[in-house]
Symmetry: C2
Subunit: 217 residues, 2 copies
């Protein structure tokens, strides 16, 4: 009888332990390549959608990459719009400054473009995180909030270099290993226009002043 009771106890224990063991097996590789690739429960933290400036700050902080549009200088497509993917960071999770910092190399096509024409538009979307999938929002639905930031991409000044470096390296530790032969430098988007698509009714315009004045609780 004692043996049978232990058998039942084992059944319960096995039932309780198995999911934990499976979870350990399938857990994503954290700490390698980057931190905060949309896997820290962003869904619970979306600000009220009517506070467009705060939503914009939220998206900038949650995302650690975006797509940058520039004017192409490449042979055959000169003058046409060009798009590329860049890693970025405005600071640690929940502690972002709102400034999108980049780690760029003159070897990148976008950087060649920016040398001639510094105007650029950066777009970031909650589709980059688990948010939209979790709530079943299509990437093109405004409910899958995304933002569009226009301005110019400029090299970061000496005074701002530490902030840029810390913001980027905390979210993108792999950057510390990138080869110096690529002449990496810190840059940022100097924002002049902001559009927020987070609800039906069309894009909401947010001024840079409203954007930088928005504060997380």
């Amino acid at each position: 009888m004692a043996g049978c009771a232990r058998g039942s106890a084992r059944a319960v224990l096995a039932f309780l332990l198995a999911p934990a063991l499976v979870a350990l097996l399938v857990a994503p590789a954290r700490g390698r390549g980057g931190r905060g690739h949309g896997d820290w429960g962003a869904a619970e933290l979306l600000p009220p959608r009517e506070n467009a400036a705060l939503v914009a700050r939220f998206v900038t902080n949650v995302c650690d990459w975006g797509a940058l549009a520039t004017i192409s200088t490449q042979e055959g497509v000169r003058g046409r719009p060009f798009a590329d993917v860049l890693s970025l960071s405005d600071g640690p999770p929940s502690k972002g400054s709102g400034v999108p910092y980049f780690y760029l190399s003159p070897m990148q096509q976008s950087v060649g473009n920016l040398k001639e024409n510094p105007y650029a538009t950066l777009t970031m979307s909650l589709a980059e995180t688990s948010f939209c999938r979790k709530y079943g929002f299509d990437p093109q639905s405004p409910l899958c909030a995304h933002i569009i930031l226009s301005g110019t991409v400029i090299k970061v000044s000496e005074a701002e270099m530490d902030v840029a470096k810390n913001s980027l390296f905390i979210r993108h530790p792999e950057m510390k290993t990138w080869p110096s032969s690529h002449n990496w430098f810190f840059a940022k988007l100097n924002i002049t226009n902001i559009w927020v698509l987070d609800y039906f009714g069309g894009p909401k315009i947010v001024t840079p002043e409203e954007y930088y004045n928005a504060t997380f609780q």
Copy 2:
């Protein structure tokens, strides 16, 4: 004795079943909002990186959204590069044609831009899926493969409309419910230039011919 043997059998059964039950509980909401938002084991299926044309076809098929660069026609930023997020599809998972189809409305900023200047560049990245996070690749690392497709965005012809519709609605079922007041129409990117960044050494150029001739095994 028979009772105790059943106890041990229950333990084994519980151990085997529990993860499945947990998986059912935590499974993401499928069928709402979109299908194939990077959650179908893309990592196992990445083609050999040296086959740049096939990698490009893979990324186009796996991604169901991208960022499109256009030239802005909007007041205050006219002539500058603009970027926006668009849903897309080249067909069902593993059965893509390589043609990125869009479902657009004249109310969208990008569409206003395209009316004046149809040149556009679309970029898609495996950072949109679980691939890069799983292997710890930074979004800006070439190992987190991304592609850049340049060309023109044009309305889909009558003959191609069914293909466009099926491709899009199978991956974006929510589109079937979008309001007709937005005058949605099917469009596609007519590709002229392709760059593939999937390994160190810079972007690989793939011709549209190589791209469309690539076949999945």
